[in-house]
Amino acid sequence: MSSTHYADRNGCALHGVIKVLDAIQGVVPIVHANAGCSLNGRFSANTLNGAIGRYFRSPLEQGATTLFDKHVVFGGTARLREQIKNSVKVLQGDLYVVATGCVPEIIGDDLPAMIKEAREQRFPVLGITSPGFKGNAYAGYAASLKALLVGIDDLFPKEASERTGKRVNLLGLVPEQDPFWEGDLLELEQILASVGLQSNRLLGQGQDVRSWKQARHADLSLVLSPWGHEAADYLESQHQVPILDLGWLPVGSRDAGQLLEQLARRLELNEQQLDTAKRQLDGHQRYYLQKAATTWLSQDLQKRSVIVAPSATAVGLARFLAGTLGHPLPVVVITDDPDESRRDALQHAIHEQSPSSQVWFSSSQQQIAELLRNAVPEFIFASHLEQPTASALHVPLLEIATPVRQSLILQRNYAGVQGALSLVEDFSAAVLQANQAAARTPIATTGVNTQLLASKIWQERRGRGSSNRSSTEPDSPAALSPIAS
């Protein structure tokens, strides 16, 4: 397999940083880069979700230095100084965070000096060095979490704890790169609340600079993907906040219950409350899966499935689909390029519920296409980039990973029991729609094998690049064919 990457799905470090900053109320990002870098970050993930902009900023309302040729030649620090000073005047905020792209890094702009200067004028400003060539958006998320925690310690060292009960930091779900991040965090908050725990989601609606100041006073950091470690490690080493390393998203009552057990053990929770909460999760899920059962069995919704997703989603979905629904999962592909040292644990977590699954680590569209073809699936849980392969295989696909193009995701989620039931609903809808479409095809009446026909059309489409193309192909818009003849 080659190392060429078609249609890169993971973006760059700067994109990850911007997505984090966008998700905190009162934080004003100042992008220090050439024009276009922050806009590109909006395009890299789900272009529908977030197009309206959280905290009332549309994609083009991000403050940015938009460096031009003069700055590239003579340096961009003066421009940054000016932008910081004026950002404080134009944009309301509690914390201003400079995120730098590739260009300032290459031309050697002195970010720390500019931050120091702004702080001397009592502006609450932090800097994050995040050139795109230093990693993907997940790595940018990890780096920005740590940089924010370090910076906030520095800016607000004496912030007292506002804690009343036991509190848990939720780390590892990456805004937009994990399309369901916001709903997943809310769902986890509900689950933790069922045993009397408060959550510090840190990102999403209602999460502000205060939430970040409180992170160091938490009783535990719950790590939900390989990308939450850096922040958790910092909080542990600097502020003695212990870590519970789950490493993936709990989907369904079994994993949600297991999570509660682990939390109870670590935080010495009330046994009876734990039992009640677990029973409720289980009872809720059983009630609704029984409600689904007639359709499930009559439509035969047990499908040989493959999953293509970043770590947290891939492992969480695999464990629920195989362990609770009994889907055979020949292949699971993990797409966020986690560090080698984290891969065994992810693989192990999948194999606990689905021992025969092959687990692959790849973000390459064409490698993944090959893995999907070889797996001969009946259903694909993946991103929009796998849609062409799904169509070629005549298999329905549910978009559960970035980029998502077929739905607008607000707070829909797949975590916990509510999320698991949403997953069942979305999956069933995709299968039932595909079944209906198949039933509408003229197979029965004309005897034409439409699957073969569709496959032929698809091959013609793929063959567009070859020299014997004609302008009457099925997908060539009439608009663009010459009118001359």
Partner: protein, 479 residues
């Protein structure tokens, strides 16, 4: 003037002297223009704005039969996820920190070879990013070497993300790259049969950089009624149509000038007449546009008959549109379409209370004079993005309706103003007039979501800023 032998297109600043930051009345703008050239400004506070790379990629993604390699860090290519072209194959070299120091040409070579092996495109476009331009990666020698090996056109597109303050320079860079290939290597460009063999009708090139396929099709249909064949360029260009472009009778813009660059080159290099009539939005502008094309092709009589028939059909629709008469609109579009839309607003009976354009250059001065004759105090705001400047203007102008692309409409929607996003609509030609009429009426009467958004605290801007002039952070550059 432009020189096709150059590596890439010049900055728009050098070619057209555009403004990308300005605010004031149309008459004060014209006063400045009459005193000499418009002087480019800078902003000391700025919001995100697209780059030549973003607009260049958006345009390239509409091409047929080609593959794209973006040579840069992974994030630079992300805009291509927006593409609706199901046949587009694209890759990014994903250069890392090491490559950014030592050069990424090995990765570039491997990526081009792999794309060719997997998909055999008609051509591969190699698009450069800020990092490889600053580091001076030798794209030309990779292209030269592999062009011979693979036997297909490899076309370097030298976008850089920082050279120009006007993102539309990206359109010029793409046009330059494609025409350089067409003019320098006609023999290796794959061609379909020359159009003369298929038909005796004249064919023309529709210069387009941002119109939708449906909008172009509607104009093609209009021209077809005059027995004029047409093909778009560079948008939706198919490399097989190269000869149609070079042998066209003339080229004409659809947007009043943003797509001018290719027309200038075709005129200079091949002597093809280049026309830049007003963007065909509204009755008068469409009439002017059609007439401008029909005249040199000897189709005046047919055009006049077609125009008369279409105008008669529209007359009753315009008369019936009493509901919208007198309502206030704010227009936020590229200069060509925005100025044509101002005239359409007069035809409908709407009052234009402000115009915002991403940039403006000397070529639009005559059209601005025409507007100033009847509305000399019309506020003009120049900026790509930069909504912070627009908010105060919207608050004082209080338009009933905001006409723009969807991505630009949120600030207005937050203020509770009815918005008409044009992304999914075709507003060009005579058909566009009735489409606009219907939608203006509908949006004016159904701004419920906007009103809901406007209730409650929702502005990211400080109170201090909202009291200041929109001009506050626009400065003349100290040289």
């Amino acid at each position: 003037m432009v020189n096709i032998r150059q590596r890439t297109a010049p900055q728009r600043e050098k070619r057209l002297g555009p403004l990308s930051a300005w605010y004031g009345s149309i008459s004060s703008l014209l006063r400045e223009a009459s005193e000499g050239e418009l002087v480019q400004r800078i902003r000391t506070f700025a919001q995100e704005t697209p780059s030549d790379l973003i607009l260049g990629l958006e345009l390239l993604a509409t091409l047929r039969g080609v593959a794209i390699v973006v040579h840069g860090p992974a994030g630079c290519a992300a805009g291509l996820h927006q593409s609706q072209n199901p046949d587009l194959h694209w890759a990014v070299t994903r250069i890392n920190e090491r490559d950014s120091i030592l050069g990424g040409d090995t990765k570039l070579r491997a990526t081009i070879r792999q794309l060719y092996a997997d998909h055999q495109p008609d051509a591969i476009l190699i698009v450069s990013s800020p990092v490889v331009i600053i580091n001076n990666d030798d794209i030309d020698s990779v292209v030269e070497e592999l062009r011979e090996e693979l036997g297909i056109p490899l076309i370097p597109v030298f976008t850089d993300g920082f050279r120009s303050k006007v993102a539309a320079t990206g359109y010029d860079v793409v046009s330059h790259a494609l025409l350089k290939e067409l003019l320098a290597h006609p023999a290796t460009t794959p061609t379909t049969a020359p159009p003369s063999a298929q038909s005796s009708n004249p064919h023309v090139t529709l210069l387009s950089v941002q119109e939708s396929g449906a909008a172009i099709a509607s104009l093609q249909a209009l021209l077809a009624e005059l027995d004029i064949a047409s093909q778009p360029f560079p948008r939706y260009f198919d490399l097989h149509d190269g000869e149609r472009i070079t042998s066209a009778r003339l080229s004409v813009t659809l947007d009043g000038g943003t797509a001018d660059y290719a027309g200038q080159i075709l005129q200079e290099q091949l002597g093809q007449p280049y026309l830049n009539p007003p963007a065909p939005i509204g009755i008068a502008a469409t009439r002017q546009w059609l007439t401008a094309i029909a005249e040199p092709l000897g189709r005046q009589a047919a055009a006049a008959a077609l125009i008369q028939q279409q105008e008669q059909q529209l007359a009753s629709a315009l008369q019936a549109a009493t509901q919208v008469r007198g309502r206030k609109v704010f227009i936020h579009l590229a200069a060509g379409p925005a100025l044509s839309l101002w005239h359409l607003a007069q035809e409908i009976g709407l009052e234009v209370v402000g115009i915002k354009v991403p940039f403006l250059d000397n070529s639009q001065i005559p059209a601005l004079h025409e507007i100033a004759r009847s509305q000399e105090n019309l506020p003009i705001l120049v900026g790509h993005g930069q909504a912070f400047e627009e908010i105060a203007l919207l608050k004082s102008a209080r338009p009933d309706l905001y006409i723009s692309h969807g991505i630009d409409a949120l600030p207005a929607a937050r203020l509770g103003i009815a918005t008409l996003p044009l992304d999914q609509l075709n507003i060009l030609g005579f058909a566009g007039v009735s489409t606009l009429l219907q939608h203006i009426e509908r949006r004016l009467n159904h701004a419920h979501l906007q009103r809901f958004l406007a209730e409650g605290e929702n502005e990211p801007y400080s109170h201090g800023w909202l009291k200041k002039s929109a001009y506050w952070y626009i400065k003349q550059e100290v040289r």
